[in-house]
């Protein structure tokens, strides 16, 4: 049976004393937390340990003795250390001794009530106390979902990590304290603290209260009845800028709440949101300074109207082409002219509206551009909304073309059934045979022929406008992908993994150190950091948009039947 002793590497040069730590019976391992030096009074040591146990809920006890002798091994000291085993009754009593500067220590155990006298093998595992204390062990992603049986099936390593992490209070006393107990651990040379961190902690409390107050004001305004009237609420729900602003408002509420984060996950989430907001605002201000530097925004506003005009002219040319003989196809002249003129009139209306707005465009754009300081994501959402507004006529044409085509397809399919003598039974949701009267058949066949021969014209208009609409949707979709990426990327976790990789641990790795015959096996335990992919997957922030669950086949089917497609839906909206 093997005994495992986890020894902190900072105590390797400590003076002689007794070892305190936690004994894990199920794993037959001892986790050593600190060394208590002579002189001490055993009663005071026991009192101190019971207090530590009460506060940290970790069963800390005296595990053995440690002797670090610079010169030859002293016989009296070793007898004294064995006698200590009777005062602090612990089974088994571990005795570690180091001679001079030798790397190879001798380790032995004293078992008073053991039934097998065989000498058990001892493995000495060195660990870096500070890193293990600060690190957070991540279970593998597939086992993290099954939460039952976690308590008794907990990984052996997590018990060790927990022990060191929960014993923080033990590491608060350093050697300059005037207490009865003198300890050696990783912080015994002086408690580490950073002035900047302390100042920020002090400053964060009033900052958080101020932020909470401002946010409550803003959300009160947003929830007021004025903004809930029908046209305005419809507009807010369609503009992606408002969604993004609402999302960021939620984030601000999370980080300005006064409750301290309970678990590691909550703390990381708060930190990620804070860094994401900061980077977003920084990039937004950079963009803003670039836009306003050489009056680029004025140039942008000046080119906006000519671009809209150009798009409208291109559309007019396209419609003229469709009204002629597009790609050599022969269209039905009458229907062609009707549809073409209808769409041309629409474009004419649109151009008039744009020209009506043109004097105000520069001012509106100038003020809207100021909102880029709220973040790069807001600026990108505004861009996406401007594209949507400028191509509104394409959207309208797509809807007209799709509805017309859809009606035609339904009409054709129903009349085709009539042509064959069948009927759609709505009650049974199937096709039944039906006997029609002669005049029904006659009119039905006539209508069927008319619709069939008009199909190429409508189909062509539908095809052209669907392609244009898909182009606009793809451009908007790419912008939204970028916004989602900036929203959900856990930058703080990635930077932590880069700079302090021991804080995010996937596991441990062991290295075998030099061995000597007769001495226990020496291993070094180091932390195996989480891979970047798992960091992003574990800590990514949730976003408000959900990607389409339609497969490509259902999308093609919808396009063929002329049903309207909404590729990018937001959470909270009803799915079609």
């Amino acid at each position: 049976m093997v005994l495992k002793v986890f020894f902190p590497s900072c105590c390797s040069s400590a003076e002689s004393g007794i070892l305190i730590g936690r004994w894990i019976l199920e794993q037959n391992s001892a986790v050593i937390l600190a060394v208590v030096h002579f002189p001490f009074i055993p009663v005071q040591v026991k009192q101190y340990l019971s207090e530590v146990q009460r506060v940290t809920k970790v069963s800390v006890s005296v595990l053995g003795s440690w002797s670090n002798s610079k010169q030859e091994k002293e016989e009296s000291l070793s007898e004294f250390l064995e006698d200590l085993g009777t005062i602090f009754a612990h089974e088994p009593w571990i005795q570690i001794s180091k001679e001079g500067d030798s790397k190879f220590w001798s380790c032995s155990t004293l078992q008073k009530h053991s039934n097998n006298p065989k000498e058990e093998e001892i493995i000495l595992v060195y660990y870096d106390q500070r890193k293990v204390m600060l690190s957070h062990l991540h279970p593998p992603l597939d086992t993290a979902t099954s939460t039952d049986r976690r308590a008794d099936d907990a990984s052996k390593l997590s018990a060790i990590f927990d022990t060191v992490a929960k014993s923080k209070i033990l590491f608060m006393t350093d050697r300059y304290d005037d207490g009865p107990i003198k300890l050696t651990h990783w912080q015994s040379d002086g408690v580490e603290a950073s002035i900047i961190v302390e100042l920020m902690k002090q400053a964060s409390v009033p900052a958080c209260t101020l932020l909470t107050f401002l946010l409550s004001l803003i959300s009160g305004i947003c929830r007021s009845r004025v903004l809930k009237f029908w046209p305005l609420s419809f507009l807010w729900s369609k503009l992606s800028t408002c969604e993004q602003l609402g999302h960021r408002l939620q984030h601000l509420q999370v980080i300005s709440s006064n409750k301290k984060a309970q678990t590691q996950t909550q703390l990381m989430r708060k930190a990620n949101i804070f860094v994401s907001l900061l980077i977003d605002a920084a990039l937004g201000i950079l963009l803003m300074s670039w836009l306003y530097r050489k009056n680029r925004i004025g140039h942008l506003a000046d080119t906006l109207i000519p671009v809209a005009d150009h798009v409208a002219e291109e559309l007019q040319d396209l419609l003229q082409w469709l009204m002629g003989a597009p790609a050599g196809l022969k269209m039905n002249r009458a229907l062609d002219q009707v549809l073409g003129r209808f769409f041309l009139y629409h474009i004419h209306l649109w151009i008039s509206y744009i020209h009506l707005m043109s004097p105000f465009i520069e001012m509106i754009l100038w003020y809207v551009g100021l909102s880029a300081c709220l973040g790069l994501t807001v600026a990108l959402c505004i861009l996406s909304d401007i594209i949507a507004l400028l191509t509104f006529h394409i959207y309208c044409f797509y809807v007209y073309g799709a509805r017309l085509y859809c009606l035609k397809i339904y009409g054709l399919s129903s009349l085709w059934r009539l042509f064959r003598g069948k009927k759609w039974n709505v009650l049974r949701q199937r096709v039944d045979s039906c006997s029609y009267d002669l005049d029904q058949l006659f009119i039905g066949t006539l209508l069927f022929t008319i619709l069939l021969f008009l199909l190429p014209t409508t189909a062509l208009y539908y095809l052209v406008f669907t392609l244009l609409r898909l182009l606009v949707v793809i451009v908007q979709g790419l912008i939204h992908l970028l916004v989602d990426l900036i929203d959900s990327l856990p930058l703080y976790s990635i930077i932590l993994r880069l700079c302090r990789s021991y804080r995010l641990a996937a596991g441990v790795k062991f290295r075998v150190l030099e061995q000597q015959d007769g001495k226990p096996l020496r291993l070094l335990m180091r932390i195996n950091p989480l891979s970047y992919g798992s960091v992003v997957q574990t800590y990514r922030l949730p976003t408000y948009s959900c990607y389409p669950k339609d497969s490509w086949t259902s999308l093609c089917k919808k396009l063929f039947l002329g049903e309207l497609i909404y590729p990018w839906k937001h959470k909270g909206e009803k799915q079609d």
Partner: protein, 187 residues
Amino acid sequence: MEERPYRSASGAPIALRHRQHSASCRELAVRCPRLQLRSLSAVTSAVWLAAYGLFVLSENSMVLSAAIFITLIGLIIYLHFVKIDQESLLVIGSLGIQVTSSYASGKESTTFIEMGQVKDVVINEAIHMQKVIYYLCILLQDPGDPQGVSEVVPLFQSSKPRLDCLIEVYKSCQEILEQRKTAPQSS
């Protein structure tokens, strides 16, 4: 410590190094075939000839510098992410099994599996491309079902040693795994 030559499944020479650190700790390392100079020069010359051909066609000297750049970057990526130099197995009785792969650039990727999760270490057969090869794998215990296997972790995937080498590694591992059956107290 001993090092013995073996052959991989494709015939390349590999070496197995067996170290016993203590009664319950063994390290088995398989050294993979090294990067051959002739394959490296063949690939480099092919890329540079193609780039020179493009240069003759297009008269743009950027093609040549791009080819040099691509070759360098490709070599660095290959050495850091693809070419494995050594795969080792460290079995520590009552702690666990550690699997390490060291890449040609010095990078090491390690996985440690605790002894409580290890059900057994077995040699399996698999169909790989057009061959049937033997491979060593660790069977992980299913926490819900004591008889079930939740995951199979294959070892020595890049060096693919043949059966004689695998039998030696298997025997070493089983000697240590048996120790945990004879010690009922450590779970």
